[in-house]
Amino acid sequence: MELPGSVIHLADEFSAPPSELQISDSDAEGGAAAQARVLVVDDERLLADTTAAILRRAGFQAKTAYEGFGALEMAASFRPDYLLTDIMMPAMNGVELAIAITQKYPATKILLISGQTGIADILADSRERGYEFPLLAKPAHPSKVVEALRRLKNE
């Protein structure tokens, strides 16, 4: 990339999965039927994986998806109690995903998480369509995420 004259394909290079970290999801297997199910969606794979690992340790049953359509597919079989999703994602953004999930599975509680300030338009658009979701600012301390999900449960 430093050499002039080279041709670079940014999209190819950057869309490669960044994480080689193996995060055990063994906790999910032994989950009792009573465990609340969380679907974690983030195009930043490492972030989705580590968040899911943390939630499992906190007693949730957690699965991950890295983009909106995959998440919708997974929700059909997983039937999550919670959707924890990033907002700025390729193809389908987090708010569109949240609206789609709410329409299909009205019982699923939504928690949006975003590190960007440029999402005001997306949120305004969602409000216009009659949807308002709680939002956590990224980066959020893991204990805050767990706490926010627990609070939603009691609502």
Binding site: S6, E44, P139
Partner: protein
Amino acid sequence: MTKPETAAKLFGKPSVLTGAAKNFLAAIITSSDDAIISKDLNGIISSWNEGARRIFGYEADEIVGQSILRLIPPELQHEEDFILAKIRSGQRIEHFETTRVRKNGEKFAISVTISPIKDDNGRIIGASKIARDITERRRGDESRFRLAAIVDSADDAIISKDLNGIIQTWNNGAQKLFGYEPDEIIGQSILRLIPEHLRHEEAEILRKLRAGEKIEHYETTRVSKSGEIREVAITISPIRNSNGEVVGGSKIARDVSDRKKVERMAIEAEKIATTGRMAAAIAHEINNPLASVLNLIYLARQDGVSQEEIQNYLATAESELERVSHIARQTLGYYRDTGSPSEVHLHNLIENVLSVYRSKLLAHNITVEATFNDLRKIRVRSGEMVQVFSNVVSNAIDAMPEGGKLSITTTRTRQEEQDGLRIVVSDTGHGIRRENIARVFEPFFTTKGNLGTGIGLWVARQLVERHGGQISISSSTERGDSGTAVTIYLPFDRAQSKMTNGHGSESREAA
């Protein structure tokens, strides 16, 4: 009427002059361009020369013996009573300007001098009337007066000078702009208006004037009587004499200080907006790895985690932090830019801009193809160039909501005798409509509705031109082949302030 009869009427007796003298006078009267008419005290025309025929259109034999009232428009016939009254009392009427009517009914402006004709006894027997058609002169006067009024009431300073730069005329606008009264500045050198460090401009201006060239909308600074600096846009045109030789120059200067102030504020505002846009993009880039680091540390601290897992978590956290510092180095560094130019590889700068928009490009399914061929470093203000390419790239992204390809090429080129770089940023987006393309560099013009500020490209142009470069755009909205290409030329050596007409950019349509 015979000649002696005419002479008798005119001069009271036929024998007052020798024959030769009479012929001489008759020749003068005949060949005069002015109408020379005589009439009696009742206003009946008694003689009519060739000039009268040309001006009024009547032949002598159709008008001699008729009333002079035939030459006077109905609404002005009262004038004749006044004229006859004056003549009867022996007075002369000189250069009386009025309106008369030709045989074909056309009214025209005329200047008449009417004198009494006396016989040998001094008795007044008639009047001679010399009339001159002044239609042309009137027209000339009117347009001169009109022009003078326009010049004087103009808000712009309008000044004329000779080829030595000596001021010849000075209007009210000039007085207001520069503070000098006409009588203190006319006859002085134009250099009094030019700040010392810009006096070299005058030699160039005079050179162009002598060559018959015009200088349009040249923006510069001038100085007023009180020493205040005035930012002006000036247009200087050669003044020619009737032989077509250049004898001086007319200079129209407009005070653009207010406009410049607004422009500077708009540039500042756009800098802040660009900073905001980039900060949002940078925040996204930094917040993701930071969130991962928080998660990884949290996981490492949990009970019952093996030593190996802890090492794994911490190593990953470390590489995430390296990612953060890389982004910070690439992007935030530019904001330390205090404005002094430095040598950079332009492709590095463009790649850094691209890295800021990486997430946005990915989110919009836009692939990037960059071909850089710029081995030589270029001396630029990095912060400004980051802003230029940030604006152009973010426009390209906005043009491709459904995805597409962003291509960037840099090539070395030679333009106007100067070595430089040509950068082409093209997208496969929806394109810019034909009627809008010429306006995209105008301030506050946007095709993005509420989402655009309308100054991104305008600011880009200001910054590119400040570097001595040029920016142009071509676009096509043709279905299946739409897209926009922005071409930027940057010379390696920053050009000195060149005396161009101020339009370094052009807009054109793609085929």
